[in-house]
């Protein structure tokens, strides 16, 4: 990967809101966003996602730290001087202008000629499939259509980076799925870098090239969805993305020894981890269940509850260590009720399915 790849680089950004108690909305955030990538900021409410986006857009300036766009420092430029556009959470469409007028606005401000603006507006309307509604006001179109107009308006000036602050959160589930696909299509068709904010982990996993998981003003981990899901570095990330089983283990020479003495084998990569007490993570779908054979050393649990979900079934177990443990098993048409509440089952885990956490 060449270094020419980067669109945005954030170096040690700090944002403090002064008040009765100072709020560290961003606490030493460093981040690199590549060109043409669909980058997602994921985190719980109040973790600083919007603040980071507003810093990139220019609505806020960092208390300290720098923001580079194509290697140029833009930390102190106002929003109208940055080739970066935003799709706002509630769209912020101009109510006194038509759909066409909204899309034309940015181009007019850039001083494009009338004919250039007109053809660009038509092109954008076609891109978001809204040709028929050009002369409607924002109040006269549906939420999903407003969403498209907001996208078209922000894409029209061909920004280098498009920022999207939870653009889908106001839509119902079906429309939301549809717009997710639409967004991916727009991103690949335009080749513009998208920085997308969401607090929906599934949305983040399905749409992103890379994800940054944030909490309390810090970036905890960033990487591609697969890495984040399979190799979370800490409990927060593991918990925030997907379902997790956490167990306390003593790491001894390539084995994880649970508190009841059960030994679980570790994979090669994990063998390097130094000995000592650690938390380990096991995803519920990575565990196989079979009838207990009664061997002393087996990793066993007793089924305490069964929840049927259609595509799969969740088995809640109580381990010999006393910990709760969940297993997710995909349902097949031929399967009956092999496992019942109260049954003791033996668990088998692939060594690659065990992830040792840093905290």
């Amino acid at each position: 990967m060449t270094t020419n790849d980067e669109a945005i680089e954030i170096k040690n950004a700090l944002k403090v809101y002064k008040g009765d108690t100072d709020v560290y909305a961003l606490n030493d955030v460093s981040l690199m966003i590549k060109k043409n990538e669909f980058f997602t900021l994921l985190g719980p409410s109040g973790c600083g996602k919007t603040t980071l986006l507003r810093l990139i857009a220019g609505f806020e300036h960092p208390t300290s730290g720098t923001i580079l766009l194509n290697k140029e420092d833009i930390s102190l430029l106002p929003p109208n001087k940055r080739p970066v556009n935003t799709v706002f959470q509630n769209y912020a469409l101009f109510p006194h202008m038509t759909v066409g007028g909204n899309i034309a606005f940015g181009l007019e401000m850039l001083g494009w000629s009338k004919s250039e603006v007109a053809s660009a507006v038509d092109e954008m309307l076609e891109l978001v499939k809204m040709q028929d509604l050009k002369n409607r006001r924002p109040a006269e179109i549906s939420g999903g259509q407003q969403q498209r107009v907001a996208l078209a308006r922000a894409l029209a000036p061909k920004p280098q980076v498009l920022l999207l602050d939870e653009p889908l959160s106001a839509l119902d589930l079906k429309l939301r799925k549809q717009m997710q696909i639409e967004l991916k299509r727009l991103q690949s068709e335009t080749g513009i870098t998208f920085v997308f904010v969401t607090h929906d982990q599934e949305e983040a996993l399905t749409m992103s090239d890379r994800i940054a998981v944030m909490n309390e003003g810090k970036i905890l981990q960033y990487g591609n969805p697969r890495d984040i899901y399979h190799h979370p570095e800490n409990k927060f990330v593991a918990n925030f993305i997907g379902d997790s089983n956490f167990l306390l283990a003593d790491i001894q020479n390539g084995n994880a020894v649970l508190t009841d003495g059960t030994e679980l084998k570790l994979s090669k990569e994990n063998k390097q981890v130094s000995n000592g007490q650690k938390s380990i993570l096991i995803r519920p779908e990575h565990v196989q269940m079979s009838k207990a054979k009664g061997s002393k050393k087996a990793f066993e649990g007793k089924i305490s509850n069964i929840v049927y979900f259609g595509t799969d079934t969740h088995f809640h177990l109580e381990l010999k260590t006393g910990d709760d443990f969940t297993i997710r098993k995909q349902n097949t048409p031929n399967e009956g009720t092999d496992f019942e509440i109260g049954a003791v089952v033996e668990l088998t885990i692939d060594e690659n399915a065990i992830q040792i956490l840093n905290d």
Binding site: G58, F59, A92, F94, P95, F105, G106, N135
Partner: protein
């Protein structure tokens, strides 16, 4: 359901249309019934008296007061024209025309001044925290608690020759002679601006408060300068409030009576005073009636103009 499907489609359509027509007819009748009280009030309190005023404007003035029931158009002619005392030729009624002109001019100036002072005030209030907004709005409405007369005399106390302002100016040595402020256009304009300012602030505040500042950020993000944000986003969205405020200030100003009476004295008559004069000392009721109607026409023209301005601007942005 089954019955309907048995009917041929054209038959059922006819039936539906009939039902629709009947229900609409009933609807119309109900509407008239429901609006009867309002219509009665409009007739007895507005249309009726207006007809009487129109009638009176075509009658001959009585010797002392009231009217004599002889038809004449002389009064209407005398609204803008004047018959020479000796040779009966017609000339412009300068006395009336200058009063009309002063009324319109002072009302316009007052509207502009209330806008100049009112918009920043409204903006200031609208950008406070919700809690302190209520306090500021409360402060704005306090003057309404006391009578207009009292407030006008208070202004007189401020600006008269031996009033607070002149005393202060002389005390700090800015002038030796008091500055003549009472009984001038300035006094009337100042008084009316003070009296009508809240009527500008409140509607403008209402529309600024409704303004979503995200829209301004949106424009700023789309390469608009601060000036362009103001012109393309803020002003068009606040315009309805500004127009409402202008109507609320301009129209009562045209007919203002108390303020010009007290602060303008006998020299700076406005429309309202001229009309009052005809019914009082002038003992010319028909002229008073004709002048009232003239004022009404001017107000109508102003209203139509304001409405045009607001809807025209709307179209332009479309």
């Amino acid at each position: 359901m089954t019955m309907n499907s048995n009917l041929s489609s054209s038959e059922s359509a006819k039936k539906a249309a009939e039902v629709e027509r009947l229900s609409q007819k009933k609807d119309v009748r109900n509407r008239w019934l429901l609006s009867l009280p309002a219509l009665a009030i409009i007739f007895f309190a507005a249309a009726g008296p207006l007809l009487i005023v129109i009638l009176y404007s075509f009658l001959t003035p009585g010797d002392y007061t009231g009217v004599i029931w002889t038809f004449t158009t002389e009064t209407w002619i005398s609204v803008v024209l004047e018959r020479d005392f000796f040779d009966e030729t017609l000339g412009w009624a300068d006395a009336h025309l200058s009063i009309f002109w002063r009324s319109i001019r002072l009302s316009l100036i007052t509207t502009i001044l209330t806008a100049i002072f009112g918009i920043p005030t409204a903006y200031f209030i609208a950008t406070r925290s919700p809690k302190s907004r209520n306090i500021w709005l409360f402060l704005i409405t306090i003057p309404f608690w006391s009578n207009l007369l009292v407030r006008t005399y208070a202004i007189q106390e401020l600006i008269r020759n031996k009033g607070v302002i002149n005393n202060f100016l002389q005390w700090i040595g800015l002038t030796n002679e008091p500055i003549e402020m009472m009984f001038t256009d300035f006094a009337v304009g100042f008084g009316m601006t003070y009296v009508y300012l809240p009527l500008m602030v409140l509607p403008v505040y209402a529309s600024i408060e409704k303004l979503d500042f995200k829209l301004v950020e949106g424009a700023y993000d789309l390469y608009a300068s601060r000036w362009q944000c103001l012109r393309r986003i803020i002003v068009p969205l606040v315009r309805p409030g500004l127009i409402a405020g202008s109507i609320l200030v301009f129209i009562p100003c045209l007919g203002a009576y108390v303020t010009p009476q007290i602060l303008g004295g006998g020299n700076q008559l406005m429309f309202g005073n001229l009309i009052a004069l005809q019914f009082g000392q002038g003992k010319n009721w028909p002229l008073g009636a004709a002048l009232s109607l003239t004022l009404m026409v001017i107000v109508m023209i102003a209203l139509v103009y304001f409405v045009k301005v607001s809807s025209g601007e709307n179209k332009k942005n479309g």
